[in-house]
């Protein structure tokens, strides 16, 4: 283990050190996101993820952002456990009828100003589940949505681009503004 740690120290950060096609794009995104976060936020951005009925693949891609290859936290974006500490609610899933209340309560517990990001096709419009008796529909059926990140699921790079767009477009979120979505910015 110390061998691995020593090697990691010598070789420098693992973040996007692997050379594969597409990595350049991810690196660019990370750099841009870092600059934007510093410029626009001035401090860290706290994200609370809420699964409102997803199939779990969207969650796994959000989790992947914490792996050493993306390492979102070093950009000042962190995932927090409580909605009370959150600036952003990152919502996945076609809101199920059984999760509607949980989602609403989480939103209410999040202090203003706050952003809502609908992540994944389900959260945007209910996707394949839209017609179900058990599904309310996209997040915008329940909450004002500031940004959508399309994909089924969106890849980590898509999520990074979405978060960058959020920071670039809005700066700090405004209290009480039920902002319309940023459209289908392919993130």
């Amino acid at each position: 283990m110390f061998g691995i740690i020593a090697r990691n120290l010598l070789k420098g950060s693992r973040s996007e050190a692997v050379s594969e096609p597409g990595d350049r794009a991810v690196q660019d995104l990370l750099a841009k996101l870092h600059a934007a976060a510093r410029r626009r936020l001035g401090r860290s951005l706290a994200i609370r993820q809420v699964d409102a009925g997803s199939c779990n693949a969207c969650e796994l891609e959000i989790q992947a952002l914490s792996n050493p290859l993306y390492d979102l936290e070093r950009l000042g974006l962190s995932f927090v456990a409580s909605p009370r500490h959150a600036d952003v609610l990152l919502v996945t899933g076609p809101v199920t009828a059984n999760m509607r209340e949980g989602l609403l309560k989480t939103w209410e517990a999040t202090p203003d100003p706050k952003w809502v990001v609908a992540l994944g096709q389900c959260a945007i419009d209910g996707h394949l589940f839209a017609d179900s008796y058990a599904v309310v529909g996209g997040v915008s059926q329940v909450l004002p949505v500031d940004l959508v990140i399309p994909g089924c699921p969106p890849r980590p790079a898509d999520i990074l681009a979405g978060l960058l767009a959020l920071i670039e477009a809005e700066g700090r979120p405004q209290a009480g503004v039920a902002a319309s979505t940023a459209g289908a910015d392919k993130g």
């Binding site: 283990m1 691995i4 740690i5 693992r14 692997v18 594969e20 096609p21 597409g22 993820q49 809420v50 699964d51 409102a52 009925g53 997803s54 199939c55 779990n56 693949a57 969207c58 969650e59 796994l60 891609e61 959000i62 989790q63 992947a64 914490s66 792996n67 050493p68 290859l69 995932f79 456990a81 409580s82 899933g93 076609p94 199920t96 009828a97 059984n98 999760m99 509607r100 209340e101 949980g102 989602l103 309560k105 989480t106 394949l128 589940f129 017609d131 179900s132 008796y133 058990a134 599904v135 089924c152 699921p153 890849r155």
Partner: protein
Amino acid sequence: MTVDRISLTDFLAALGTPAARHEPWPRFELSVEGWTGLRDRLAAVPAWSLLGLWGETGMVHLALRDDTDGDIAVASLTCPQQSFPSLSGVRPAAKRLERAIQDLTGLAADGLDDPRPWLDHDRWRLRHPLAAVPGAPLGEPAPYPFLPSDGEGLHQIPVGPVHAGIIEPGHFRFTCQGETVVRLEERLGYVHKGVERLMKGRLPEEAARLAGRLSGDSSVAHTLAFCLAVEAALGVTAPRRAQLVRAVMAELERIANHVNDIGAIANDGGFAFLLAECAVLREQVMRTNERCFGHRFLMDRVVPGGIAVDLKQEGRQALADLLPVFAKRFRKLVSIYDAKSSLLDRTVGTGVVSSDLAHRFGAGGYVGRASSRGLDARRMPGYAPYDELDFQVPVLPEGDVNARVWIRIREVEQSLDLIAQILKRLESGPGRAFLPESHAVSEGMALVEGFRGEILAWVRISDGGRIERAHSRDPSWFQWPLLEAAIEGNIVADFPLCNKSFNCSYSGHDL
């Protein structure tokens, strides 16, 4: 043949009439007397394990396997009285399945000792969505009555449905005495999306996309199970090349999930180093998936009749790049896990599931295999191409978190080896067979080994070639109840560790 030695199929054949087209195993329609006779027989023959229990309009189906000889059959009961005798007394895992049947079909399980709804939280637009005539919702949802617990100094801790981490929603109700968990009660159903009803009336190709989103981490396994069931019903076999490529996808999925779990379990044991290292390995698999098949989760790559995306030279190269590097790095991480006594201190002896319980609940996957229940659908009943491949099914007796980690470790090693074997066999050929037109109602069933364990899929296809009824039983149905047992007597602080070592699916269970 004495009555004691009679096979499962023969026993059911003597009780009922065979359904016209049900492949590859028979289905028998029983009378109520036949059903209760079967129930009594199940009490006497523990080796006849529950594979699935599901309902449809006016009817219930029970899939069983004799774990000693692999004999598989389905028993069905038509319910003109809108009820059926409960099997929960002889197969405890039937309890939640019956509660779900009641919620979805309106059929009542007679003798079921838990009257509470399970998936239906009284929030849906209608009641009994799979009944002939669904009803209106009851109205204001009543608070869910958790089981009472009386005793000196007991307190309760409610957790969820929205959890602190980036995970799926569900509710856990802990009853504790000081730090020790006296009882855990789960409440699930929060992510019920009504998939089975959505599948109704769809073409198999459309329904397969839904199957691939029952539990996103098991997209390949669920889609494969669904497609094999469809292919069985329609009497078509995917071409050999498709079978092999499907298996590559399935093993990549297994590796990605297992390695992720190993890291996450270590992290909950206070060792973040392995989480970071394992997450990198997982990410490399996901990127390889994308290079090979154009999707990180391989969604919609398995289709009825075969595969939608074939493995090309670029993909073979991606696998050749990945496999040796992965194997070497993984070996290193395993030796670190094995040598880290402070971590083993957390995982050894924690969250024990007894072999008896694993057998009684018919638990599969790493949960079953870490508790001596050594079944694997790739072996029994088996399906192509695994019958021609060489692999071991690891089994351990301890039943603790550590054993569940080791089963995963061994399975990753086996999967890496399986992919190498498959690639050697890969010859050019078609990737997809045309589905024949359907002229008669037909039914099919399949068992597939996902990373969590056995997935059962069942379909009935109409004479017009559309899905009349489809059912998928995620392995988590038989594992969630064991998590309740595993945590008993452990301290609350060990729950995340136990929970992660199970990693049950919410979405796959809630459907």
